[in-house]
Amino acid sequence: MNIAIPVDETKTNVCASLGRAPYFMIINANTGEKTIIDNPAPAASGGAGIKAAQSVIDQNVKAILTPRCGMNAAEAFKAAGIALYQTVSESIDQSLAAFNKGDLVELQNIHPGFHGQGGK
């Protein structure tokens, strides 16, 4: 299975935002292999959360470690059977270690979207 973490420009720290993170780190839980993918969402004209979620879902991810998540994206992850875990540290390595030890709890920090741009 794969694990995803939103990461910032330095590619070494957890990014505070999931939808607007510049990159995602995809970690293969079996081999420990790490790859960085671009988040296509920061340039999205609307629905950045869903666009970001889509790029993660397409990576065959089973768990996401993140400090917070938007409502729409959380709904998409739930439908895709992906679990969300709350990170407690900015460090990717510490977050992964905590996750592997079973120390991370399910994410509670789900916020309404910032879009307000819908054509409704």
Partner: protein, 290 residues
């Protein structure tokens, strides 16, 4: 002629100005576009009300026909569709009702259905026709409700009628929608540094749309007024200065229309409307008899 009344945030007295302008005009339409929290009708207490539902088209996916080809998901540039477990999942609050996904689905698995997003209530109150847009709670944006309010306003708009558009606070896209067809914009500002900051945001917006505008300074005291100083410095029209007044505040919180209660306010708003008419290049149409 249509006058939009706007402000950078709530609580500046935007509705006070909009409601009282509509009340002093001989014949007016008050259109409340603050669809998240419309409150102008509380002052007007309109009668003979009629209600229109506002709906938008959204896709409805028949998963028995869907082959999971992903075309609709890749097409939707608003990201209202996501591809999850080999099927498209729909996120209604992101949908812009463009209809594209319905057209392009190769298996005709998508049809359109109507989704209620709010309502528009039309009524009368003496010389004022009131149009109130109300967005259903939980909707991401009230644009389609605002459009319906403005359509109703256009139907009632005749020469000699003053249309007052009470805009949502702020400078987001729903405000742009509200001022799009306005002939003149009235910007209501508070006399503080924050008030000035909010004013500047709204000025930027109306300038973007090339709208003629003037500023109404509200809650003015003897103290320094950064908003007023800014207007003087930039040579912007100050249409009126409304003093900070406890009695006026009381009238507002009692849901009273100030110009109906006190000749002082009547005079102020008549001259404000005259000034707007002059600025906008129209003849005065105020009701001086009252």
């Amino acid at each position: 002629m249509k006058i939009a009344v706007l402000s950078g945030k709530g609580g500046t007295g935007k509705t006070l100005v909009a409601v009282n302008l509509a009340a002093v005009a001989k014949n007016s339409v008050y259109a409340d576009c603050d669809v998240e929290e419309p409150n102008g009708y509380l002052f007007f207490q309109p009668t003979e009300v009629t209600t229109q539902q506002v709906t938008v088209s959204i896709p409805s996916i028949d998963y028995n026909l869907c082959s999971g080809c992903r075309k609709c998901v890749d097409f939707c540039r608003f990201n209202a569709l996501a591809y999850i477990a080999q099927k498209p999942a729909f996120f209604a609050d992101l949908c812009h009702s463009c209809g594209g996904c319905t057209l392009l689905c190769p298996n005709h698995a998508i049809s359109e259905k109507q989704n209620a997003v709010g309502k528009v209530i039309i009524g009368n109150s003496q010389n004022v026709t009131t149009i109130t847009g109300i967005m259903d709670t939980g909707r991401a944006s009230g644009v389609s409700v605002i459009r319906q309010v403005l359509r109703c306003l256009n139907q009632k708009n005749k020469p000699g009628i003053i249309g007052i558009i009470d805009c949502p606070p702020g400078s987001a896209c729903i405000v742009m929608e509200s001022i799009r067809e306005a002939d003149y914009c009235v910007l209501v500002a508070e006399p503080t540094i924050f008030g000035l900051h909010n004013l500047q945001m709204v000025i930027e917006l109306v300038q973007l749309f090339n709208k003629p505008f003037g500023v109404v300074l509200n809650k003015c005291t003897a103290d320094a007024n950064p908003s007023a100083e800014y207007c003087h410095e930039k040579n912007m029209t100050i249409l009126a200065s409304i003093p900070f007044d406890k009695k006026l505040g009381q009238l507002v919180s009692d849901g009273q229309i100030a110009v109906h209660c006190d000749p002082l306010w009547q005079k102020l708003f008549i001259s404000l409307l005259d000034k707007i008419n002059k600025e906008a290049g129209y003849e005065a149409a105020t009701d001086n008899q009252r």
